[in-house]
Amino acid sequence: MTVVQTLAHTIHEGPADGDSSGLICTGLSKSYWGVPVLKSVDITLRPGNVIGLIGENGAGKSTTSSIIAGIVEANGGSMTIDGVPYEPTRPSDALKNGVALIHQEIRMVPELSVAENIFIGRLPRRRGVIDRNRINDEAREYLELVGSQTDPRRPVAGLSIAAQQEIEIARALSREPKYIIFDEPSASLGQSETQHVFAQIAALRQRGVGIVYISHRLEEIKEVADTIVCLRDGALVGNWPASEITKDEMVKAMVGRDFVFSHRAPQPATSEIALSVTGLSKTGVFAGIDFDVHRGEIFGFAGLVGAGRTEVVRTIAGADVADAGEIKVHGEVVQIRNPRSGIDAGIAMVPEDRKGQGLNLDRTGAENITLPWEKKLSSAGIITKKKVTATANKLRDFLDIRGRLDIPVGSLSGGNQQKVLLAKWLVNEPKVLILDEPTRGVDVGAKMTIYETIRALAETGVGVIVVSSELEEVLGLSHRVLVMSGGLQRAILDRADATPEAVMALALSNVPKESPLESPIDGEAEYQTTIRTQEN
């Protein structure tokens, strides 16, 4: 009998005790194509309570929240709010009952303004016309609650994912709901944005709002939740007071066996240089980037959201075009004008935006994995399904991808999608592998697998660049860390010197005058980025 199981049995509380206040779900079940993905789950959410919902990728967290929010109809079970039956059949039913969901995937209407996106579906009218002053004012208030400076009047098109995530949260808050579900909001947020969200959750809890918070960042969960609820394979494992459960116990509850999550120190890198970047600049975005990555080295990029890390690595990979600078791979100067020339030079990049840039969600996992390599995999100019499947299956085993690779990749869980994306760039071992937010939305188990893969790749002599907004991740993995702010390279720290405090100090330090960005943290630079990438 482990601690976890004991706790689960002692503290388990249900509607049985007669208290019917709050949102009470009993026996929620759901299956897709006959496969059960949710098996009789009970969850009780009291006003003013924060539930941290954890579980592996595909455990059914999003499915649970979609059922509560009326997006998906359950096959079985029932829900009540304060004892009154609650049977939402569409999202608006949920909203009417004071239940709001902040979705895992960001959903915005790019052409509409930020304020309109917040009030979409219930734009207030004054004398028959939309009351723009009111929505702009109110939107600004809600944005400030989540710490966003975004101008409510500008269109959403071109805003960074982080900024969009903030709008998404503001949208939910503006409904003044009694219950809010946050489905992995921090996956797209940096540290400081996350802190804003936590402050907001604390305030909401004070006001008696019931909250479900889903995340794979377990420290975060412990910090914010009162109660931890864990799902595994669609079934409830148990629930615990957050103060009484350790991170290791949470991991164990999720994966169902003993599991130690730790960063082991990387093997020393070689002295050979895999990638050398000199004087890389892109007007208005970043300037003066100089660094080398050795073969076998894991090289981290740290900085706040909007610091320009993504732009730098996109440029190295050929997704964007530099205005100045030189790139060498294995000592040879390479001209990188487009992604193809990057790939040919041996540079592979896993982009941060899985849905928009990484995967074609309508095609199968196998097709996605082999997409860049079909020419290489074909014999006599012909590529067969057999070959595609065989190649994909090899990588599935290597990365422990759970789920079928012969169905549209969009129906895999987020973490498994991320693994498919990684697999895509491992078909042909690259000389330089760039990973931008490699574990966004990935569960602990998968994270470990990905970290191990990254280390293993480095050990075979690949130069690896890891960009991450999770400080623990980037510091735990890397030999050296480059810190950026305001589009400039502030320092390159060795592993020993790269303490969280040192990195944050550099990342937060005042943006120097020579910054290529006019207003660094503001949306403007990102807006420009978008235009640029679209023109490419």
Binding site: P91, P110, R122, I130
Partner: protein, 307 residues
């Protein structure tokens, strides 16, 4: 909403060039002529923009013009209904076909292209069937006067055109249900999750487009004093072209009525100008093709987002 520099610049260039090339172009009379010349296509293009904003398309617009015009005429001349009633019936016929388009797309989940292709074909056939292809002529004087009278020097059809543009623009910009079209076309899933009545909006918009095609049909009928079963057939591509030249994206979610109006004027001014300049009939399409490409080419920003 979105800036539409390319087409507007294109229009201005064409306008200035024609002013120099033809002494007749820049006369008040001619400019008013242009307004009435574009009125039918213009009225239809408003409906087309609304549908295109939703990410749809309406191929039936020209056939609906013909069918509602023929229905009205048949009810008046053949069934002997009072003219006002027949006129109303003609408008209802147009709206009905639009309603069918809406139901097929919103509930039948047909691709709009297919749904409206089917109704286009059916409406065109019915328009011919009513009189076995014969046109109907002889309408009340006041009805013919609609397109032959001016208010303060501006032809009534021009006034109707501008009024429809203005009302629709107001709706799109200031009314929640109009704004909703951008949301639905931009991201249907978001719209649905935000509780917007997506299907109702589709049905409404297709119905409006059908009604506007019927209005265009009345304008044409009044203008020619003749209801023709094949009227409007040639307008389809023009209507869509006007909207797309005006910067709307066929994938939905972006476009404006101001842009559409500019697109309408580009086509109208070009046709008028080539008439005035006596460009050889067979070269006219070549010039039109080249000018359209050039006018829009200057506007690289309005290029397609992915999809």
């Amino acid at each position: 909403m979105s800036q539409i520099p390319g087409p507007l610049i294109g229009l201005i260039v064409i306008f200035v060039a024609l002013s120099f090339l033809s002494p007749y172009f820049l006369t008040p009379r001619n400019l008013l002529n242009i307004l009435s010349q574009v009125s039918a296509v213009g009225v239809m293009s408003v409906g087309a923009l609304l549908i295109i904003l939703l990410g749809g398309i309406d191929l039936s617009v020209g056939s609906v013009l013909a069918l509602s015009s023929m229905s009205m005429a048949a009810m008046y001349k053949m069934a002997g209904w009072p003219f006002e009633v027949a006129l109303l019936a003609g408008l209802i016929v147009g709206a009905l076909v639009g309603l069918i388009n809406g139901i097929l797309t919103a509930y039948g989940k047909l691709q709009p292209f297919i749904a409206t292709l089917a109704t286009m074909s059916a409406a065109a056939g019915l328009a011919l069937f009513i009189t076995n292809g014969n046109p109907i002529t002889g309408f009340p004087d006041w009805f013919i006067a609609i397109t032959a009278t001016s208010i303060l020097g501006i032809p009534i059809e021009g006034v109707i055109l501008v009024a429809i543009f203005a009302i629709a623009a107001f709706w799109l910009k200031f009314r929640p249900s109009g704004r909703a079209l951008y949301a639905i076309g931009g991201n249907e899933e978001v719209a649905r999750l935000s509780g917007l009545p997506v299907r109702r909006a589709k049905i409404l918009v297709y119905t409006i487009a059908g009604l506007l095609a019927a209005v265009a049909g009345l304008l044409v009928t009044s203008r020619l004093d003749s209801a023709q079963p094949t009227a409007g057939a040639a307008d389809l591509l023009n209507v869509i072209a006007v909207v797309v030249i005006g910067g709307a994206s066929l994938s939905g979610g972006s476009g404006s009525l101001l842009g559409t109006f500019v697109g309408l004027l580009i086509i109208g001014v070009l046709n008028n100008g080539m008439s005035l300049l006596n460009v050889s009939a067979n070269l006219q399409p070549v010039v039109i093709g080249a000018v359209i490409a050039a006018a829009v080419l200057t506007d690289r920003k309005s290029s397609r987002r992915h999809t």
